[in-house]
Symmetry: C2
Subunit: 209 residues, 2 copies
Amino acid sequence: MEENNHTKAVCVYSRMSYGDQPISDFLDNVASERVTPAGGSAAALVGAIGTALCEMACLHTIGKNGYEDVEEEIAEIHEALLKQRSFLLDLADKDAEVVDELLVAYRDGSDQTVAMKKATGVPLTIAEACLPVIEHATVVSKKGNENAVPDAGTGSFLVYSALQASIFTVQSNLDQLSDSEFTKEMETRAAAIEQSAELEFERVLSNIE
Amino acid sequence: MEENNHTKAVCVYSRMSYGDQPISDFLDNVASERVTPAGGSAAALVGAIGTALCEMACLHTIGKNGYEDVEEEIAEIHEALLKQRSFLLDLADKDAEVVDELLVAYRDGSDQTVAMKKATGVPLTIAEACLPVIEHATVVSKKGNENAVPDAGTGSFLVYSALQASIFTVQSNLDQLSDSEFTKEMETRAAAIEQSAELEFERVLSNIE
């Protein structure tokens, strides 16, 4: 028994950070019969990819002729995006951790409610983390270097889908929970994120079209 | 001069395949002032991530009790998705190659039309490569293991955004070309892909809701 518990602990907690993993290995692991990395980690990584594109658009604006007036604002946004990308990559790891904990709860036959709540909270946090990126992308796509605006646009498509995919994961997980108070709170937060994101993404689209 | 040309050739053709690159390095390179990897490579990778999620949903269906009737169809889809993921990852490399060639043309002051056409053709191919994934996801989300259907759903959100982002890149590049015959042909193909994808994605949404 002790050995079994030890094996589980190793399985759950000593995973290589996805940031250090070669892309093909990550993809092979997603595509495998293993449950993690699953949708949450995939969405977080896509959010990070889209964020990186918005960062590039900032860098092609800062210090460039004709963009002196917006330089300070774009530099602040660049800094914020850099932090957000790092946060999203951490959330990719965090999602796999809580999904693995949920699997352990399934296998143990123990109460899965706590584990399922954690596995629902992380994708909600991923969606929440994507929202400010889209808000920043609105500014970048309006004021940034016109040559780099398409990159911010492409990034926004990707980050918005990461947000939508995460909200979808939240909803799928909530369907498996019977705690109506928790479900209501999560649904309210998810709806607010979704509504803000939709409005913000429409702004990006109107800037890039 | 000879040395310069040699340096350019090395820059354009001897890049490490993105599949072999650690995720953090890829993200840092996207986010850097370097032009590649840019939107096309990012979208292709997101397409590959979404495809991998759909593959996982297939694997959780094949050989599982209650899914004997659809096993053969899902196994064929799994095989097709595996190939498509590999193709999308190759396209991530290809996009960086043609964007670098375009940069070389800009720096040389030589005719950029051929290079720009190639840099427009690759994102169109990325969008085309995403479409069958969404079509397969429709079947998986309808007939696959109900526990894995959310993964196919999440994958579809991501692949659909990769397709939309790629079409957006095509349109942005076409704005810089004056060859109306080429532009018309590309716009027609892009519109057809977009229309099919929208219909197909709506089917996925109706299956997962």
